[in-house]
Amino acid sequence: MKGSGRVDRAERRPGGRLRALGSRLCSPRALERLIDPAIADLQSEHAQAVRAGRVWRGRWIRVAGTLAFWKVIGFHAATRAVPIAREWAAADGHALGRTATFAATASVVVTIPFVLVPLSHLHTAMSTVHSIALVAFIVPQALPISVPIGLAFGILFGVRQATATARVRRSILAITIVCSGIMFIVLGWIVPETNQAFRELSAARRVMRGVNELTLGELWARGLWLPLHIRVALAASPLILGLFAFSIAAAAKARSRALVVGLAAVVGYYSCLWILVAPAAELAPWPAAQAVWTPNLIFAIATAGLLLLRSAKS
């Protein structure tokens, strides 16, 4: 009975669920021209195999047809995404396109020293494969610093007072939230693993995990609140610095002035964070774990003030 049930499943016409899914994901035209032909051919090919009693061939056709369906969806999405992305980048005097380009460039430039400095301290000769692996393991630890800085400079270069429209503001807000979300995952789970892998590969032996090699869940379980707060506060930095940069770019009449203020702000932000996570934090009148949030709080208040001032002026 069990065997016949399996054969029944194999003989059932495929594509019904895929088509229902396709109708949700695609436009009616794409459904008619791309999805339906793929599913109709899949059903026909499958029916031929079943009629010929070739159960395994039918199963293979089902799998291949499902993969083909997802490929069609992927290609269709890519084809649709390109003009939408172009339109998005070109609107408002290319503000978002310029921001994205400068942010990506600045992030890469800032990442390079964070990768080269730790690598320069290694004295062991390594094979090319090991060297590439070390670079791959060291990059994630640079991202929580380089991405917020890159994002802030991208915004300062890309957005001008005249192009700081509501659409640009919404897009910047969305980008900074997404970057912060990604940094939360990077700092919480990816950096501990890649740090550990880097240490073990460079030492060529197993190494005990330190605090920096513990995930957020492990820090929470052990009650290590200061490193936990530092990581979450750092994860919020793309949002905090990005919105601050936007408020500066939108308020400043000259870009050079915005850049000078922005550079000073970024230096101030990380200096403040550095001082607060250093032993001096232990001397603060408030708990050290909460003290690491001070730069974020100061910048959030400054951003809100600048944006309120701008809206009052306009």
């Binding site: 021209r33 791309l34 032909p37 109709a40 051919d41 090919e45 083909a68 290609f75």
Partner: protein, 99 residues
């Protein structure tokens, strides 16, 4: 100057050489191409060619399997065949350009 990507040229070639029938299903094109066309991309290419006016398609009259979706069958248009001829000519004279 309009160009004809290799996959589009292959599709027109296969449709033109389909044993006098002049029309084929997407999967038939994949099978006839001997691995040069993939089942995941052939429908996207055919859709794009239809938008350019290089191929035309119609649904088959009645699905052979009761309840199944009707299959879409494709044929090259006169424009598609002319462009293919012109492109083949260019490819023979200027292979570097047509590559």
């Amino acid at each position: 100057m309009p160009t004809l990507p290799a996959k589009e040229a292959l599709i027109i070639e296969l449709l033109s050489a389909s044993g006098g029938r002049g029309e084929m299903y997407g999967l038939e094109l994949v099978a006839a191409s001997k691995g040069r066309l993939k089942r995941g991309t052939v429908y996207v290419t055919l859709g794009r060619m239809e938008e350019k006016g290089l191929v035309t398609s119609q649904l088959e009259a009645a699905p052979p399997e009761a309840g199944g979706l009707p299959r879409r069958i494709y044929q090259a248009t006169a424009l598609g065949r002319r462009l293919h001829e012109a492109w083949s000519h260019v490819a023979r004279l200027l292979p570097e350009f047509a590559r």
